[in-house]
């Protein structure tokens, strides 16, 4: 699973606005800051996006590296293949998650990226939330760096209301983690500081949620997939800082201006799409173009929820710091059972007046993808929503076959078009 698109410069057709500019600056600053991090003064913790413990780790003065995000930034910059090939030479098979290969290849090659050097980890925090590969990946990092690893076991979310025992288990682990950090850093845990950080977190989450909900408007002033992915960076990477919270204020002001001035993602919104799945970062623009060509705007997407379902009302609560962190880790999108994922999508379909669903399966990500075929079947047969399933990879450009994907997307949108024009009996039209 993952995070947010990085420092790629905006291109014509993107919104050339303040949000996008600011996002680029934040990304650059973040990587600049990392370049100087490491060692006892500014120790570095590696963390996974899903169910992460940013707030706690930050309150102990750690800099946080998210290898998933570094990997996707490399992929957007067309730098993933060399890392992946290196990882394959190390012995990682063709079917191993692209993030893992991109990252471990990169690490083995010395950690230098187009944005600067990524520091070595002083601590590995493995939030086992939503993806089994996390455990394997962190194990590999632990062995190659000899760095200490903390495994934060997050049970799978199987009922809407979390089990009491699960929360207890996680809270107990968080306390153990805090004690470990105290020993490691020689600093005492400061609950007030954590609460302060959580307040910033909450402010960012509220802003981000507001932005996402703008997709309900018709026409939508936001692109809830291709644009939102850029805007995921602050919520996932900088959560807990004032910067992140301020960022969404800027973005939301921008969205309001768009609504006022009619500056929309596309001149004409022909199809309102829900997108499910991790994007093909290596061919992000090409993929986006395939939508634009048909006037398809994504008004809601599941992927931006991998860091948490803030738009559904979950927010960190400074009054219940550990409990709310535990609830947060439980509720991230891929940590939810398919039954819950289906339910969420069902609600999105209604709330965002969705016309069609596009599912992008990732060949090397089973966590997200295993079951998307079933989802497709459910959408078409049980929900009556036209749905397209296509497959490529998030990190490995060798698996993005533009001609084939384009052909499928053209056929799909063409058939939607055709169905709108042919007045077929209602029973036949699955929409």
């Amino acid at each position: 699973m993952t995070g947010a698109a990085g420092a790629a410069p905006p291109r014509e057709g993107d919104f050339l606005d303040s949000g996008r500019e600011l996002q680029r600056r934040l990304v650059e600053e973040y990587y600049r800051g990392l370049a100087e991090a490491g060692g006892p003064q500014r120790p570095v913790a590696y963390m996974l996006v899903g169910g992460n413990l940013t707030e706690i780790v930050r309150s102990f003065g750690y800099e946080v590296v998210f290898p998933e995000i570094v990997a996707l930034n490399c992929a957007i910059k067309h730098r993933s293949l060399e890392n992946i090939l290196h990882a394959e030479a190390m012995g990682y098979g063709l079917d191993v998650c692209g993030y893992v290969k991109n990252d471990l290849g990169l690490q083995d090659l010395g950690g230098s990226t187009p944005f600067g050097r990524i520091p070595r980890p002083d601590l590995l925090v493995c939030s086992f939330s939503g993806c089994y590969v996390y455990v394997k990946w962190w194990e590999a990092l632990a062995e190659s760096y000899g760095a200490p690893m903390f495994t934060y076991d997050v049970p799978y979310l199987r009922e809407e209301v979390p089990y009491k025992e699960d929360i207890q288990y996680m809270v107990a682990q968080l306390w153990e983690f805090v004690h470990q950090l105290e020993k490691r850093t020689g600093r005492a845990f400061d609950m007030e500081e954590l609460k302060r950080v959580l307040r910033e977190t909450r402010r960012a989450e509220e802003g981000w949620a507001r932005y996402l909900r703008a997709g309900r408007l018709r026409p939508s002033p936001i692109e809830a997939y291709f644009e939102a992915i850029f805007y995921m960076f602050p919520i996932n990477v900088l959560r807990g800082t004032a910067q992140a919270a301020d960022f969404y204020d800027v973005v939301n002001a921008e969205v309001e201006r768009r609504v006022r001035e009619g500056n929309l993602p596309l001149p004409e919104e022909k199809v309102r799409v829900l997108v499910e799945g991790v994007p093909p970062y290596t061919n992000y623009r090409t993929f986006w173009d395939f939508f634009r060509k048909w006037g398809a705007v994504s008004v809601v997407a599941t992927y931006p929820k991998v860091g948490g379902l803030f738009d559904r009302g979950f927010l960190h609560d400074p009054a219940r710091p550990f409990e709310s962190i535990a609830e947060y880790s439980l509720g991230a999108y891929v940590n939810q059972s398919w039954t819950l994922r289906r339910k969420l999508i069902q609600e999105y379909l209604r709330e965002y007046s969705v016309d069609a669903v596009v599912i992008h399966g990732i060949k090397s990500c089973r966590s997200f993808t295993a079951g998307q075929g079933d989802l497709r079947d459910w959408l078409i047969h049980d929900q009556g929503v036209p749905t397209l399933y296509i497959e490529s990879d998030h990190q490995d450009p060798r698996y993005f076959a533009p001609a084939q994907i384009k052909n499928r997307m053209d056929a799909f949108f063409e058939s939607l078009d055709q169905r709108r024009t042919t007045k077929a009996p209602a029973t036949e039209v699955a929409a």
Binding site: G91, G93, E139, P155, R366
Partner: protein, 413 residues
Amino acid sequence: MAAPLLTIGERTEEEPAAPSLELSNDLAEFRSAAGVAEMVRLAGEVLGDPTFPVARAWKRAGGRSVATFPVYTPQELIHALGMLPVTVQGGGENLEITHADALLGSFLCSISKSTLEMALTGRLDAFEGFVFPYICDVSRNLEGIFARSLPGKMTHMLHLPQNFGSAATLPFLIAEYRRLLAKLERVAGRAYDPEHLRASLATFNRQRRLVGELADLRRERPADLSLVEMYLLTRLGSTLPRELHIELLERALAELTARHRKPRDALRVVVVGPFCEQPTLDLLSLLEESGCAVVGEEFQMLSRWYGDVPSEGDPLENLARAYLEAPVDIGVRATPTTKEAGILARVERTGAQGVLFLTAKFCEPALEDVVLYRRALEKRNIPYLQMEFEERSTTYEQARLQLETFVESQLFD
């Protein structure tokens, strides 16, 4: 849905929940199996039939059974409620996949597809419920697909914890087992009783001990029990009523102890990887044909996850503790030791001359470990070979070539 208590055979409610073996004639053949060869033949038949004849027979006799996906589920709980636990380990080489492909992506292991195919085509109708342990994302997600595909059946995703260093893990796992128990109780139509679980622990202890003896025998005298024979005899225990399996193993061991075949010259290898999806019997035979003697492997892990589970005290706690403390070192369980130490210890313990990575195609947990293992082996100059397999394959040219080369490279100098 409070179904009446099971009345199988002559068991009364007061007795511990050991399922009766008199349940049907269908299993009579096993009881009268003349010797190891006959048992192996029957095992091949029963295990090669993706419609689960034993579970069907059990159901016909009025019993209920619950299927579990590999690698580990505390089947003792199912047993203690008077039900038949069965490990569903894929559909084997003869199952044709036409439905499951539509619901699963193309880059998934075969076992996930064949398991779903069996469900969609009614082959799993003998089971009342399905448990998927969190061994990987595929198995975990499969639960959600089953929940939609088989709406009338119980499905459960069992969260096997991965934090082995926390004081909170044991209480969590006990709570997790209780949740599973609650669902199982509904399926069984009876309440959990610690006494019954104690009895089940004893039965499973006995079964594990015998399986262990079989493995020891093979390690010491590989010529007397072929890999396929051992595999089938062991795997039989994942589908037969456990009491019947115990009977069979006792007889088999008695016969095998007297066997003395001429030892063969072969390369001693540890096989790493096939802990979940199972290779075909042909591939297993091929290992031996190409000159490998398998002295360590990961098949049928469930039947040897831990040693004896004590029955004094709270049996549920004992069961949870046994899972957590087991020194099992496979790809779907985070271990306290490093992978490097783990593989070297295994090679040393078994006296292996090489390591064979037999990874199920698309099995990510297995694929990721290979790298760490291989690094450790290279440091020590221990030869290894990595191959991928699928449960559905008919040609073995590639596999044969690689195996032969591997053996030749050790034998010629």
